[in-house]
C-alpha cells in the first residue's frame, strides 16, 4: 500500500528533525515509563505480598482464629487429636519495629520447629540430628532470620537484635541464618522466626496463640471442627487473611493505575501536538505528494507509520526508563503500604513480560491514537497546497459550532449520568464527559471572546492589541486547541487542589475536635492500619495516679471478625465525656453516646457507606469471645482516620464480650497550670522499660497532617504534570500558528514591525489566550471540585467534606495559566524573529 519511496519520504523526515522526533519519542517514552513504573511497583508489591503471605501461611489449608486475645493452647491440644486434622501448627505472630534492621517494620513469627514440617520449610525441616537444633527451644531470646535479611544489615549468628513489639522492648540474639534459594529469599524478607514458646513468653501472651494453622483431611468439614472449639474461635480458609489485606490496598492500587493512565494521556497530548506541528510545516510536501498521485489514504497511512516508528523507539526507551523509575516507585509504594496498611518487604523488582507487554501495547496504541487527528489533517491537504498555503482555518472555523454543540451535549450528558447513576466509575465517567464537553466548546468561546476583545485590546495596546485579538480569533483552529488544553489542565489542577484543600480543612477541624487531651501515650510498632499494639493494662491506672493528671481516657483498637468480614473495632472508656468528642451524621439516634453506654455501637461514615448501614435501626453481628453477638447501631459519626471504617463500642461492653484487657493508647488530661514537658517526663519514667511514645497534643495533630500530606504527595506530581501539559499545548500550538503565519508576519516585518514589537505582539496573543484559559478554568475547576467532593468522594468512601472555594487557589490558577502561556511564547517568538524576510515573502 505504501510504496518504498513514499515511506522514505516520511521516515527520513523523522531523521531530519531531531528535536521533533525527540519530542515524539519523549511523549511515548513518558507515557510508557510511568505506566510501566507504576505497574511494576504495583505488580512487585502484589507479588511480594503473595510471597510473604505464602511464607507465613505455607501449606496450611485452614486457620483457627480467635478474638483479640487469640487462641488458647488448649484448642491446639484438642485439634491435634481430631481425626479430620492431618496436621496442626501453633503460630504466634506480631508486628515489630527494629532499629537493628533499619527501623523497618518486621513480622515476628513464633513457630514450633517440630510441627512446622508439613507447613513451612523455613527451618529446613529441622530434626534432632541437626546440630544446635535444641537451642531454638532453650535459648530464652533466640531468633532466626533469613541470611539475606541478616547480611543486608550486617548481622551474623550471635549478634544482638533489638525490637519493639507492643509496649515491650525485646533484645534478641541471632541464633542462626536461613539460607534460601535466591527466588525464595524475598519471601522470608521481613520475617524474624522464634520458637513459639519463646515468643509467647517474650510477648507476655500466656497460653495464647495468634492462630493455629491446620491441614485438614480431604472432605473434612471446617464447620464441624469449629463447632467443637470454644465460642470465640472460628475456622477460616488459610487464604482469608491475605485476601482481607489485599482488599485494603485495592483502592490504593486503583488510584495508582489511574495516575499512570493520566501520564499516558499527557504523552498522547505531546505526540498529538508534535505531529500536528510537523504536518502543518510539511503541508507543501503533502500537496506535492497528492499532486503526484498519492491518495489521501496513503498520506494518512504515512503519518501513522511515522508515528509508529517513533513510538517503537519511544516504547523501548520508555520500558528501560520505566524499569529504572519502577525501582524508586516500588520503594514509595512499599513505604505507603507499610505506613497505611501492613508490613511488606519487596526484594527484587524484575521486569516481567506481564508488565512490559501491556506497557508496550499501550504506548504504541496511544501514539497511534494521538496521531490520528493530524494524520487525518494531513490526508485532507489538497494538492493545491503544493502551490499555496492552507485553507485549514476556514475548514476549522466551520467546525466550531458543531464541536461546541457536541461538547455541550456531552457535558449535559455527563451531568445526567451523574444524577441518574450510583457508582464510582459512572461518576468518573461523568467527570470526564463534562471536562471533555467543556473542552470541545472552548474553541468557539475563544473565537467569540477574542473577537469581542479586539476593541478593548485596541484601546489598551493600540494596533498591536487589535491584531493580537484578531489573530487569536482567526487562527482559532490552533489557538482554540491551545486554550482548550490550557483550560483543561488548569481546571483539573484547580479542581483537585480545591478538593484536597477542602479535605484538609475538614480533617484539621476534625482533629481539633477529637484531639483534646494534653498528652497521648501509644506504642507504635509498625504495621499500619492492621496493627493492634497492646499496652499493659496496669499502666493506665499508674498514670492516672500521677500528680498533675486530671483525667485519663483509654482506647483499645483491635481487629475482629464480623458478618461483613474483618473490621476495625475500637473500645473507648470515655463515658459521658465522649459525647463531646464525636459529631454524628443526620439520622443518628438523638443521644447516641448514651446508647453506647448501654451496649450499642457507633460506626464511622465510611463503614456505614461501605456496608450500607442506615444511621438508625441498623445492627452489626460481631464475633466475640463469647460467641456471635448482634449489636445495635446507635449512630454514624464523622471520622477521617481510615477509609476502611471504624466501629466503636464502650469499654464496659467490650470487657463483657471479650477477654482482652489491654489498651492501645492512653490520653491524659493535665490539671490546669501543669507543665506539660515535666508531666511527659514523669509519664516516661512511669513507663520505664517499655517502648512507649509520649506525644503532646500539637505534635500529634502535626504528625497526623504530615501523614495526610504525604498521602497526597502523589497529587503534586499530578498537578505538575498538568502544568507541563498546558505548557506544551500552548507551545506547540504557537509553533504551528507561526509556521502558518510566516508570510503574514514577514509582511508585517517588512512594513516596519521591529523584533521588539513582534515580541510584544506575541506576548499579547499568548497573554490573551492565557487569560481566557484562566477565566474559563475557574468555573470549570470549581465544578470539578464540587463533583469530586460531593459525588466521587461520597460514593467512594462516604466521607462528609465541606467544599471550600479558597480564593487563593483561583488566583493561583489565573497566574499559572498566564505564566504558562507567556513562557510558551518565548521560543516560538525567538525562532520567528530569526527568519529571513525575503524567504518568507518569496511565496508571493
Amino acid at each position: 500500500m505504501l510504496p518504498r519511496t513514499l515511506l522514505a519520504t516520511g521516515l527520513r523526515d523523522l531523521l531530519r528533525r531531531p528535536l521533533h522526533t525527540a519530542l515524539l519519542v519523549l511523549g511515548v517514552a513518558l507515557g510508557v515509563a510511568v505506566v510501566v513504573a507504576i505497574d511494576l511497583a504495583g505488580d512487585s508489591a502484589r507479588r511480594a505480598f503473595a510471597r510473604s503471605a505464602d511464607a507465613v501461611v505455607g501449606r496450611a489449608t485452614h486457620v483457627v482464629l480467635g478474638g483479640p486475645s487469640g487462641v488458647p493452647v488448649a484448642a491446639y491440644r484438642d485439634l491435634r487429636r481430631h481425626e479430620s486434622v492431618q496436621a496442626a501448627a501453633p503460630v504466634v505472630e506480631a508486628t515489630a519495629v527494629s532499629d537493628t534492621l533499619g527501623r523497618s517494620a518486621v513480622r515476628l513469627l513464633g513457630v514450633d520447629p517440630i510441627a512446622e514440617g508439613p507447613f513451612r520449610d523455613h527451618l529446613g525441616g529441622g530434626s534432632l540430628r541437626a546440630p544446635g537444633f535444641g537451642r531454638l527451644f532453650t535459648e530464652p531470646r533466640g531468633a532466626v532470620l533469613s541470611a539475606t535479611l541478616a547480611r543486608r544489615h550486617g548481622l551474623g549468628p550471635g549478634d544482638a537484635l533489638s525490637l519493639r513489639v507492643d509496649d515491650r522492648r525485646l533484645e534478641l540474639r541471632v541464633l542462626g541464618l536461613i539460607e534460601t534459594a535466591p527466588d525464595r529469599a524475598a519471601a522470608l524478607d521481613g520475617l524474624v522466626l522464634l520458637d513459639v514458646g519463646v515468643a509467647q513468653e517474650l510477648l507476655g501472651r500466656g497460653d495464647r496463640l495468634t492462630r493455629i494453622d491446620l491441614i485438614l483431611a480431604p472432605g473434612a468439614s471446617p464447620a464441624a471442627i469449629a463447632a467443637g472449639l470454644g465460642p470465640g474461635l472460628r475456622v477460616a480458609p488459610a487464604s482469608e487473611q491475605a485476601e482481607t489485606a489485599i482488599q485494603l490496598t485495592e483502592a490504593f492500587h486503583l488510584n495508582l493505575g489511574a495516575l499512570s493512565l493520566l501520564a499516558l494521556v499527557v504523552g498522547m497530548f505531546l505526540i498529538y501536538n508534535t505531529i500536528t506541528f510537523s504536518v502543518v510545516q510539511r503541508r507543501a510536501v503533502f500537496g506535492t505528494l497528492r499532486l503526484l498521485g498519492a491518495t489521501p489514504r496513503q498520506v494518512f497511512a504515512l503519518i501513522l507509520v511515522e508515528a509508529a516508528a517513533a513510538a517503537a523507539v519511544g516504547t523501548l526507551a520508555g520500558e528501560a526508563l520505566g524499569y529504572v523509575l519502577g525501582q524508586g516507585a516500588v520503594r514509595l509504594v512499599t513505604r505507603t503500604i507499610n505506613d497505611l496498611y501492613f508490613v511488606l518487604a519487596v526484594g527484587d523488582v524484575p521486569l516481567t513480560a506481564g508488565v512490559a507487554l501491556p506497557g508496550a501495547l499501550l504506548g504504541l496504541g496511544a501514539a497511534l491514537l494521538a496521531a490520528l487527528p493530524p494524520a487525518l489533517e494531513a490526508s485532507r491537504v489538497e494538492p493545491i497546497a503544493a502551490l499555496r498555503p492552507s485553507t485549514y482555518e476556514s475548514h476549522a472555523r466551520r467546525l466550531l459550532p458543531r464541536l461546541a454543540s457536541a461538547g455541550a451535549l456531552l457535558a449535559l450528558g455527563g451531568g445526567a449520568l451523574l444524577a441518574v447513576t450510583d457508582g464510582v466509575p459512572a461518576a468518573f465517567g461523568a467527570l470526564f464527559a463534562i471536562v471533555l464537553g467543556v473542552a470541545l466548546a472552548v474553541p468557539l468561546l475563544t473565537a467569540t471572546f477574542a473577537a469581542r476583545a479586539a476593541a478593548p485590546m485596541g484601546r489598551v495596546a493600540g494596533a498591536l492589541g487589535r491584531i493580537a485579538a484578531r489573530t487569536v480569533e482567526r487562527s482559532v483552529g490552533r489557538t482554540g486547541v491551545a486554550v482548550a488544553a490550557l483550560t483543561t489542565a488548569v481546571s483539573v489542577t484547580v479542581g483537585v487542589s480545591l478538593m484536597i484543600a477542602s479535605f484538609r480543612a475538614t480533617v484539621v477541624n476534625w482533629l481539633e475536635l477529637t484531639i483534646r487531651a494534653d498528652l497521648y501515650v501509644g506504642a507504635p510498632s509498625g504495621g499500619g492500619v492492621r496493627a493492634t499494639p497492646a499496652i499493659d493494662p496496669q499502666l493506665p491506672a499508674r498514670l492516672a495516679a500521677l500528680p498533675g493528671v486530671e483525667a485519663i481516657e483509654t482506647i483499645r483498637r483491635v481487629r475482629i471478625a464480623s458478618e461483613v468480614g474483618e473490621i476495625a473495632l475500637g473500645a473507648s472508656d470515655l463515658g459521658a465525656a465522649g459525647a463531646g468528642l464525636y459529631r454524628f451524621a443526620a439520622g443518628s439516634d438523638p443521644d447516641p453516646w448514651a446508647r453506647v453506654e448501654q451496649g450499642a455501637l457507633i460506626v464511622s461514615e465510611p463503614f456505614a457507606h461501605r456496608h450500607r448501614l442506615a444511621p438508625r435501626g441498623a445492627s452489626v453481628l460481631l464475633q466475640t469471645d463469647r460467641g456471635r453477638v448482634r449489636f445495635p447501631v446507635a449512630g454514624v459519626f464523622y471520622d477521617y482516620s481510615t477509609e476502611e471504617g471504624l466501629v466503636l463500642m464502650g469499654r464496659a461492653t467490650y470487657e463483657r464480650h471479650f477477654e482482652d484487657r489491654a489498651v492501645s493508647s492512653i490520653a491524659l488530661h493535665a490539671a490546669p497550670g501543669v507543665d506539660l514537658d515535666a508531666l511527659a517526663s514523669q509519664v516516661r519514667e512511669a513507663a520505664t522499660g517499655r517502648a512507649l511514645l509520649v506525644t503532646d497534643n500539637r505534635s500529634l495533630k502535626r504528625e497526623a497532617m504530615r501523614v495526610f500530606d504525604r498521602t497526597f504527595a502523589v497529587t503534586h506530581a499530578l498537578r505538575l504534570l498538568a502544568v507541563v501539559v498546558a505548557f506544551v499545548g500552548v507551545w506547540s500550538a504557537l509553533m504551528a500558528l507561526h509556521a502558518e503565519r510566516t508570510r503574514e508576519l514577514a509582511t508585517l516585518q517588512a512594513l516596519g514591525l521591529t523584533p521588539g514589537l513582534l515580541r510584544r505582539l506575541g506576548l499579547l496573543e499568548s497573554g490573551l489566550m492565557g487569560a481566557l484559559a484562566g477565566l474559563l478554568s475557574l468555573p470549570l475547576g470549581a465544578l470539578l471540585a464540587a463533583i469530586l467532593v460531593d459525588v466521587i468522594n461520597v460514593r467512594s468512601f462516604g466521607w462528609t467534606m465541606e467544599l471550600r472555594l479558597e480564593p487563593g487557589l483561583f488566583v493561583q490558577a489565573l497566574a499559572v495559566s498566564l505564566a504558562a502561556s507567556l513562557l510558551a511564547t518565548v521560543y516560538p517568538l525567538w525562532r520567528l524573529s530569526r527568519r529571513e524576510v525575503a524567504a518568507a515573502l518569496r511565496q508571493e
Partner: protein, 226 residues
C-alpha cells in the same frame, strides 16, 4: 489538430471576506494537442489559476474545463487524482521536490505511486536524468543541487509517466538567466520531440517566445496577442 484543452466560458471568483475577487470572466480558449502555448499576464491576473483549473486542482465558479472529452471540473477528486497521475506532468516555480528523497527517488515517485514495477521505473527515471544531464547526481538530496539542477530534476519527474500534457508554472521564475535558458531548452526539446502538449505560464518574454502561441489574460479574459 483536435483541441486537447478547451476553456469554455470559465469564470473564477475568490470570496475574500466582503470583497470577492474576480480572476477570470467567461474566459474561453483552446489548446491543440502537441501545441506549446504560453500564458502571460500581470501578477495576480489569474495565470496560475488557469493552470490549476486544467489540472483539476481548483474548480471554476462557472463554465467547464475540458481535457479531451472529459470535463475536468466535473470529475470526482479521485478521478482527478488519477487523471493528473496518468496524463499530466508538472513543473513549478519553486521546484517542489520532496526534500527527504534523493534525486532519483524524486523522479521515480510518480511511477511508484502509479504502481509501476520498480525496476522499469528506475530505468526510465535514470534515462530521463541522463537526458537532462543529471544522471551523476542521482543519489544526491535536492538541497545539494543548484536551482537549475533542481528544476531539471523536476522536469525529469514530470516526464517519467510519459504524460501527453505538461503544465509548467513559471518554470524559470526562480532561476538566473543561464539556468533558465538551459531548462527551457530541455523543456522545449523534450516536449516537442515527443509530441506532448505544453501549457506554460510565464511573465518572461524570452520564455514566451519559445511557444507556438501566446495567450494573455487581461481583465479576466483570455486574448491573443496583438
Amino acid at each position: 489538430m483536435p483541441a486537447l484543452i478547451r476553456f469554455d466560458r470559465v469564470s473564477k471568483t475568490y470570496p475574500e471576506g466582503d470583497a470577492p475577487r474576480v480572476v477570470l470572466r467567461e474566459a474561453s480558449a483552446e489548446v491543440a494537442a502537441g501545441e506549446i502555448v504560453a500564458i502571460r499576464g500581470r501578477s495576480g491576473s489569474g495565470k496560475s489559476t488557469l493552470l490549476n483549473l486544467v489540472a483539476g486542482l481548483d474548480s471554476p465558479t462557472s463554465g467547464d474545463v475540458w481535457l479531451g472529452d472529459v470535463a475536468v471540473n466535473r470529475l470526482s477528486p479521485r478521478e482527478r487524482t488519477l487523471l493528473r497521475r496518468d496524463r499530466m506532468g508538472f513543473v513549478f516555480q519553486f521546484f517542489n521536490l520532496i526534500p527527504t528523497l534523493r534525486v532519483l527517488e524524486n523522479v521515480v515517485l510518480p511511477a511508484e505511486l502509479a504502481g509501476r514495477g520498480p525496476r522499469a521505473a528506475r530505468e526510465r527515471a535514470l534515462a530521463l536524468l541522463d537526458r537532462v544531464g543529471l544522471a551523476s547526481r542521482a543519489d544526491a538530496f535536492p538541497d545539494r543541487l543548484s536551482g537549475g539542477e533542481q528544476q531539471r530534476v523536476a522536469l525529469a519527474r514530470a516526464l517519467v509517466m510519459d504524460p501527453p500534457l505538461v503544465l509548467a508554472d513559471e518554470p524559470t521564475g526562480n532561476l538566473d538567466d543561464h539556468a533558465g535558458e538551459v531548462v527551457m531548452q530541455l523543456l522545449d526539446e523534450m516536449t516537442r520531440a515527443a509530441g506532448k502538449t505544453l501549457l506554460l505560464v510565464t511573465h518572461s518574454r524570452e520564455v514566451a517566445a519559445r511557444a507556438d502561441r501566446v495567450l494573455t489574460i487581461e481583465d479576466g479574459h483570455l486574448v491573443a496577442p496583438r
